[in-house]
């Protein structure tokens, strides 16, 4: 049962790249690229890496179901996962669905920017009604005995504002982000530290075969730059410090995206699907927090009791507050899944003895579909 205990405190992660650890200075050895110092924030010219020369293999390297640990701000997730699969011939996507609080995604795609064929990352999500998307440009690549290293910097503020670094060596991934609350704190400092192993790649390989990935062709067009008139500008500033698009409201994600001015939104993503999960509450689970699991294997036996071993097959694990009965997985990779809900009957905040489940339900998600599944008879006391 111990392995069932996952750590879900998600709010910190969902703050995403908008905040930072204040005291660890960035001291990256990133060739000759500029890095922030303790005292200056002079503008940095962004020079995209030409992936015709190097760096294209990032798309191949990130493929897979990664499982590891994650330190986000001050929260230590002892178990965490990102599931990266291609969604087009030159675009690969991964998302973490946190549940009631929101979600966080980062995708990588081929594009033209500043007259250069390069890779841009799109990072963001929705947190408590705040829609944010930020764009990062590949500006540093190293391939040496330490593995393959990539840095992607904020497309406006570069390392003065925020950036992400990825290093691949063997089956290991080191994925860090450094942030500054969209340029309000200087210098940016380490925000997320995800260290993981590739748990499997067959799902990503299957998706790659389906969409003819990877190809060195632009997924989206940034040859004309970004719509600067929609950049988010910090209070008190006169110009943007980040290539970020924000909007706050109670509308759905499609509407929020349009209002933010985000040049590409969820509607522009090919191949992905969504899944709405409706939970029928009964007297046993009324007003209980719900852990919702999307997994590659059934989490329960035929009687509905939780099993330990399949938990590493989780790809999403949102958490729903006591009053929420429905949740929609967005940006969902098509495929075969099991859906399981666990009611936190004992209220300890973890999946543990005494919690209430049901028999995991299987579902096949086809590309560009939006099915609904209903979970009922959640009555098995573990």
């Amino acid at each position: 049962m111990k392995q069932f205990i996952l750590f879900f405190g998600f709010a910190a992660l969902l703050l995403g790249f908008t905040s930072c650890e204040k005291e660890i200075r960035n001291i990256a050895n990133t060739e000759d690229k500029p890095i922030p110092t303790d005292t200056a924030a002079a503008p940095i010219e962004i020079v995209p890496t030409d992936i015709n020369e190097k760096g294209f293999e990032l798309l191949e390297n990130i493929k897979g179901h990664w499982i590891g640990t994650n330190l986000v701000i001050n929260f230590d997730y002892e178990w965490f996962t990102f599931d990266y699969r291609p969604i087009s011939e030159s675009h690969i996507h991964g998302i973490h669905e946190g549940g009631t609080m929101g979600n966080l995604f980062t995708s990588f795609f081929v594009t033209d920017f500043k007259d250069t064929r390069t890779i841009i990352a799109r990072n963001g999500g929705v947190l408590n009604g705040i829609y944010r998307t930020s764009y990062f440009v590949l500006d540093s690549v190293r391939n040496d005995s330490d593995g393959d290293f990539y840095r992607l910097v904020d497309a406006v503020g570069s390392t003065n504002t925020m950036w992400m670094e990825l290093r691949f060596k063997g089956d290991s991934l080191y994925f860090n982000s450094y942030t500054s609350q969209l340029g309000t704190l200087f210098p940016p400092t380490r925000h997320m530290t995800f260290k993981a192993k590739r748990y499997n790649s067959y799902l990503a390989d299957a998706a790659a075969a389906a969409v003819n990935f990877p190809q060195n062709t632009p997924a989206w067009d940034f040859s004309g730059g970004f719509p600067e008139e929609y950049y988010y500008i910090n209070s008190g500033d006169t110009e943007a410090k980040s290539c970020s698009f924000l909007w706050q409201g109670t509308e759905d994600v499609v509407t929020l995206a349009a209002l933010s001015g985000d040049p590409y939104t969820i509607s522009d993503h090919p191949y992905i699907a969504s899944l709405q999960v409706d939970v029928v509450r009964n007297s046993l689970i009324e007003n209980k927090k719900l852990f919702l699991f999307l997994s590659l294997e059934s989490l329960t036996d035929a009687s509905g009791y939780l099993q330990e071993d399949p938990f590493n097959s989780l790809v999403q694990f949102p958490e729903l507050i006591e009053t929420q009965d429905s949740f929609t997985f967005t940006y969902l990779h098509p495929g075969d899944y099991y859906v399981t809900v666990v009611a936190d009957a004992n209220g300890d905040g973890y999946v543990s003895l005494g919690d209430i489940t049901h028999v995991s339900q299987s579902i096949t998600i086809s590309p560009e579909t939006n099915p609904t599944i209903t979970l009922d008879n959640i009555t098995v006391i573990n």
């Binding site: 204040k22 660890i24 001291i27 701000i73 860090n176």
Partner: protein, 132 residues
């Protein structure tokens, strides 16, 4: 008699403060599952500074070389009773004292419990004295 006792207590207190401050001087290492670093705490005038000698978080790595620009995690560490603190910005406009950005206290003679504030949330880690 009372004067003597107070004098002794004062001397002991001063000695204790000085002793802890002296113990803090030197190289400290943190090596947890998220990063590995070596810091050198030294006196910078009245205060204590923590210079980064080594840092590796999996993607960013750094080795200080003599003569190169120095990087610090804190520069103005001061002793407050049993703790050493830095980054105290004082009272806010609402007159509520803010938490220091760094708090160091000995957990043993050879280890420090280090708390740093991130987004106003404390992250605790342990640093261990390096034997040269």
């Amino acid at each position: 008699m009372l004067k003597h006792a107070l004098l002794i207590l004062t001397i002991v207190a001063l000695w204790s403060c000085s002793s802890k401050r002296n113990q803090l001087i030197g190289q400290w290492e943190v090596n947890n599952k998220f990063y590995h670093a070596i810091y050198e705490i030294s006196e910078e005038g009245e205060n204590l500074a923590g210079q980064v000698l080594y840092y590796n978080d999996g993607t960013t790595s750094y080795n200080y070389k003599d003569g190169a620009e120095k990087h610090y995690v804190f520069k103005n560490l001061i002793q407050k009773e049993e703790r050493f603190v830095d980054g105290v910005s004082g009272a806010t406009s609402s007159n509520v004292e803010q938490e220091p950005q760094w708090v160091l206290e000995f957990s043993t003679e050879q280890s420090l419990k280090v708390q740093k504030m991130i987004m106003d949330k404390p992250l605790t880690e342990y640093w261990y004295k390096r034997n040269k």
